[in-house]
Symmetry: C2
C-alpha cells in the first residue's frame, strides 16, 4: 500500500468520523479473505505453541515469561515472551522518542496505517491467539481482535490527524498600534507528553489496547504496552507488526515495546509510578483503575467495571425481546463490559402487544430464551465461548448462594473442545431492596432479574447504579414514548447511553468504531472513551513560540 | 445587538480561532468610546463605594461581606456583597440548570455574546474597580479586565460552539448483514458535567475568571464564581451583566452566582469538596492548586505559580534589550504570571553588535534601564501600578537579605495617589549554584540575574525550573540560529513557549486571545490553558442513544 493511498484512507476516515457513519476499512467477513487464510493462520498459531515469541526485540531481556492457558483446552500455551527491566524499557523508549517526536503528522499516520495493513494479514492468527487466551468464540475473536480493533485504531488515527492539524503551524500576527503595526511571527507545535503506558486486559487484549496505543503514537509519544499476563499473544502480534512498519520506515522499533510480566510478579505499578511515564491507559477492575486515576502527575484514560441495566417496561413482541436479551447475556458468557447484568421488571409485570405478562412470566420467558439458546447445539457453544478465568466461575457460584436461582448453569459441552471451561448464564431473581445482591458488578455469566415497584423505580435504580458504580450501556424496552424520553434524560444525566427496543440483529453489546462512543467518561465505569477529541488531544500539548 | 449579528460574531470568532490570527471584537483603545464614558464610569464606581452590591440576587443571604482595599488609596472600598450558605448556592445552581441544559448551543452563544456586549458598556467602571482592587494602572485595568477579558470569553464561546457542533446530532447507521441491512437511528448529545466552581485570583479578577466561567456555561453547566475576597467588584459587575442577559432571555439568573467570602472564613474548600461540584477552575498559588487538582472525582483547570526565565546569550542592540526587560519587569510591578523572574547570563558576558559586554556590564545595563523607567515621571508610576498585597512587599524584602542587591527599590510617589503601595523592582545578582535564592517563585517586583557558566547552562537551568516549578513564559535573546533552535526544542519539551529577541513594543507578558495559548498545561504552572479544545470539551460528555 502506498503512502498516498494510506493518506487517502486517513482522509476518508476523518470524513466518516465527522458524520459518525458506518465505516469499515477492513472487510469483517472472513470469506473476503483468501480461501486458505484460515488454515494458514491456524498453522502459524499452532507452530508458535511452546516457542519463544521475541517480537524482533533486541536482547538484554532478563527472563522469558509466559503463563497463558487456553480456556478451550485448559492447557498452557507454552509461549514465552522476553521480560525486561523497567529502566531498560524506559531508556529505550526515550531513545526511540527523539526521532519520532519530530516526524510529521502525515508520516505518523502513514506508518501506522501501514502497520494496520500488516496486522490485517495476520487476522486469522490473531483470531486463534485471542480464542485461546480469552475464551472468545472463533468468530468473535476474529471480529473483535481483527477488523473491529483495526477500525478503532483507524478511528484514532483519523481523529488525531484532525486534532493535530487543528491550528495553523505558523501565523504572522499583526497588531495595529496607531502609528505603526506590531508584527510577530508565531509558530504552534503539538508537543508530545512523554512515555505512554498502555495496560491491557485479559478479555479483549487488542480491541481495548490499540486505541490508547495508536492515540499515543499519533501524538508523538513512545509506548510501552503491559498486556495482561494471561492474554499476551494477540497484542504481541499487533506490536510485532507495528515494529515492522516502524523499521520499514526507518524509525526505531523500540518506539513500541511490550512489558511482559507474570501474575505473581506484576510490573504494572513499577511502570505506572515511574517518573518518566506521563500517560496511562488502563482497562480492568475498578480498584486498580482508581489507583491509576489517583497517581499524581499522570494523565489517565481508564475503562473500569460497570453495572449495566435493562429496563423492561412494555414491549411489542415479548419473545423477540427475551431472545435478544438471551443473546446479549450469553455472548461470550457475559464477559463483555457492555453486557447487561440487571434486568429491572415491575412487580406487576409488563404490557405486551399480546397482552399482559406477570413478573413470573417475564422471568420464565427470559430463562426459556437463555435455555433455548444455550441448548441449541449449533448456537449455544459458539455464542458462549469459554470462560477466561476460574474466578469468574467462582464469582457466579458465590452469587447463586445469596438469592433465588431461576435458571442454573446448564451443562454445555463444546463439540470441538471437550475440556473447555464452559458456564452458561445463571438467571437469578431478587428484590429491589436486596441491594447487596445486585448493586455491585458480578462480571461473567450472571443475570439478575430485579423486582421493582414500577418502571419509574426501575429507571431510578438503573440511574443510581450507573452514577454510583458506573455503566457502559443501558437497554430500555418501552412502547411508551414519554417513558423513553424520561429514560433518555435520566440515564444520559448519569452519562450512560441508552439503546431502545433492540431486537433481531441489534445487540446492546456492540459498539461500532466511527459510530458509537465506547464508555462516556462521565461515570465510574471509566474516565475516557473511544473516541472523543480529548482522548487524543490530551496526549500532546500545544506550545506557541514567538519571533519578532 | 440582534441574535443574528451575535451569531455572525461567533462564526467570525471561530474562523479567527482556527487561523489564530488577531481578533478584536471590542475596540481596546479607550478613545473609541464616548467622550464622557471615562467620567461616567468613574462616577458610577465612586457612587458604589461604601454601598452594598447585590448583583440583583434574590434574598436569603446570610451576611454582607466585603474587605476590598484600594492599593492606591490604602483605604477600604466599603463595598459589601451578599454571602450565602453553600447548600443554598448549590440548590439554586441545580434549579437554574434544569432549563439551561436543554438550550441549544446557538442560544447559549447568543445569550453569552449579549452578556459580553452588556459588559462592554461598563468597561470604564470595571477599569476603576480593577485599579482599586488589584493595583493595576488605569490603562492595564481597562485593557486586561475589559476588552482583553471579553476577547478571551469570546474565544471560549467560539471554540465551544465549534466543539459542541463537532458531531452530527442524528445519524442513520446502516450495517450490511448479507441478506439484510441492520438500520439503527442514533442520536448524539453533549451532556453537561454539572456544577462548575470558578475560583478567582486577586490580581486579574476578570481576565483569569471569564474563560472558565464562559466555557462551563457554553457546555451547559451552572457556575458559582468564588472571587478572591480582595478583588470582588470587577467580576461582580461582569456577573451582574451575565445575569441580566440571562434574565432578558428568560433564563434563570442563578445559573451564575457569586460566592463571596472573607480571608478569615473562606468558603473555597467547602464549595470545592461539595459532591455536586464537578468542574473546578482555579487561578492562584501552587499549594492550593495542588490540593484542587488532587480532589477525587473533579475535573480541574488550574493556573498556578511558575518561574519564568530569560536566557541572555547574544544581542543586536543591548540597550533595546535592557529597555524591553525593564518594561516587562516593571509592568504592574512584576505581579503578572507572565513576567520574567530569572535572567540567566553567562559569567563571561554576552556578545552584542557593538562589541562584548561583561557580566557586570549586563547587570549594570539592566539596573540602569529599570532605574530610567521607574524614575521617568511620565512612565514609572503608570507602568508600576501599585502592589496588591503587603505580603508581596515582604516577600521581596525577605529575598533581598539572601543575596547581592544590584538595584534596590526606588522611592516612587504616584502623582495622583500619594498613599499608593509602590515598590519598584529589586534587581538581585546570584550564582547559578545558589538555587535557594532563585529556584522558587518570588512573585512581585523582584528580578534575579543568575550568573551561569555558559548559555548552555542557562538553557539547562531555565528548562529545569520550568519542569520542576512550572513556567508560563520564557524570553530568549540570541543572534545564534542554532542556539535559538536548541532553546526552542529544550523549552518546548518542558512545555514552555519561547519568545525570541523581543524589543520595542513586543513584550513577553502579553498573551493575546485568538492568538497565544496562555499556560500550556504541560508543566507545574497549571494543568490547562486558554484556550485549547480540551479546555472546553472536558466540560461536557458525549452520549449517544440508539433506536431500532
Amino acid at each position: 500500500m502506498t503512502s498516498q493511498s494510506q493518506n487517502n484512507m486517513i482522509q476518508e476516515a476523518i470524513r466518516a468520523q465527522k458524520t459518525r457513519e458506518f465505516f469499515a476499512a477492513y472487510p469483517e467477513n472472513p470469506k473476503a479473505y483468501a480461501e486458505d487464510a484460515n488454515q494458514k493462520g491456524l498453522e502459524v498459531f499452532q507452530k508458535q505453541l511452546n516457542q519463544n515469541f521475541s517480537l524482533g526485540a533486541p536482547e538484554n531481556h532478563s527472563h522469558w515469561v509466559g503463563e497463558e492457558v487456553s480456556p478451550y483446552m485448559m492447557v498452557g500455551l507454552g509461549i514465552r515472551y522476553p521480560q525486561y527491566e523497567t529502566q531498560l524499557l524506559i531508556d529505550r523508549a526515550k531513545n526511540a522518542w527523539s526521532a519520532w517526536k519530530n516526524t510529521t503528522v502525515d508520516e505518523r499516520g502513514s506508518i501506522l496505517t501501514d502497520a494496520l495493513n500488516r496486522v490485517s494479514n495476520r487476522f486469522f492468527e490473531i483470531a486463534y491467539a485471542t480464542m485461546h487466551t480469552t475464551g472468545q468464540s472463533f468468530v468473535m475473536s476474529f471480529q473483535a481482535s481483527g477488523p473491529h480493533a483495526n477500525d478503532r485504531a483507524m478511528e484514532v488515527i483519523s481523529l488525531a490527524t484532525e486534532e493535530l492539524n487543528r491550528f495553523e503551524n505558523t501565523v504572522d500576527w499583526v497588531k495595529p498600534m496607531g502609528k505603526f503595526d506590531l508584527k510577530i511571527h508565531k509558530t504552534f507545535q503539538a508537543i508530545p507528553r512523554g512515555i505512554s503506558l498502555v495496560i491491557g486486559c485479559s478479555t479483549f487484549p487488542t480491541w481495548n489496547t490499540v486505541p490508547g496505543l495508536f492515540a499515543s503514537l499519533m501524538g508523538g509519544n513512545p509506548v510501552i504496552v503491559k498486556p495482561h499476563p494471561k492474554s499476551v499473544l494477540p497484542i504481541a502480534i499487533v506490536i510485532e507488526e507495528i515494529r515492522a512498519a516502524l523499521k520499514n520506515a526507518g524509525q526505531d522499533e523500540n518506539l513500541v515495546q511490550m512489558a511482559a510480566d507474570t501474575i505473581d510478579n506484576p510490573l504494572t505499578k513499577e511502570l505506572a509510578q515511574h517518573k518518566d511515564v506521563k500517560l496511562i491507559d488502563y482497562t480492568g477492575g475498578s480498584a486498580f483503575g482508581d489507583y491509576i486515576e489517583a497517581l499524581p502527575g499522570k494523565i489517565t484514560f481508564t475503562e473500569k467495571a460497570g453495572v449495566n441495566s435493562v429496563i423492561l417496561d412494555s414491549v411489542a413482541d415479548a419473545q423477540a425481546v427475551f431472545g435478544n436479551l438471551a443473546f446479549s447475556t450469553c455472548l461470550y458468557s457475559g464477559q463483555m463490559c457492555t453486557a447487561p447484568q440487571n434486568i429491572f421488571v415491575p412487580s406487576n409485570g409488563i404490557k405486551t402487544a399480546d397482552g399482559h405478562l406477570t413478573f413470573d412470566e417475564v422471568v420464565a420467558g427470559i430463562c426459556g430464551a437463555v435455555k433455548a439458546l444455550v441448548e441449541n447445539p449449533k448456537m449455544g457453544p459458539y455464542t458462549l465461548g469459554a470462560v477466561q478465568n476460574d474466578l469468574t466461575v467462582k464469582r457466579v457460584d458465590e452469587a447463586k448462594t445469596k438469592t433465588t436461582v431461576a435458571l442454573d448453569s446448564l451443562t454445555v459441552v463444546h463439540p470441538e473442545f471437550h475440556d473447555a471451561r464452559m458456564k452458561s448464564p445463571v438467571v437469578m431473581v431478587t428484590d429491589a431492596a436486596d441491594t447487596a445482591v445486585w448493586m455491585h458488578e458480578c462480571f461473567g455469566p450472571a443475570l439478575f432479574v430485579v423486582k421493582t415497584e414500577s418502571s419509574a423505580q426501575s429507571l431510578e435504580l438503573a440511574a443510581r447504579a450507573a452514577t454510583e458504580l458506573g455503566a457502559i450501556t443501558c437497554l430500555c424496552y418501552s412502547t411508551d414514548t414519554n417513558f423513553c424520553k424520561q429514560t433518555t434524560e435520566t440515564m444520559n444525566a448519569a452519562f450512560t447511553p441508552v439503546s431502545f427496543n433492540f431486537t433481531g440483529a441489534a445487540f446492546v453489546n456492540q459498539h461500532a468504531a466511527f459510530s458509537d462512543f465506547h464508555v462516556s467518561g462521565g461515570n465510574p465505569s471509566g474516565n475516557a472513551g473511544f473516541t472523543t477529541p480529548e482522548y487524543v488531544n490530551r496526549r500532546f500539548v500545544w506550545v506557541g513560540n514567538r519571533y519578532l
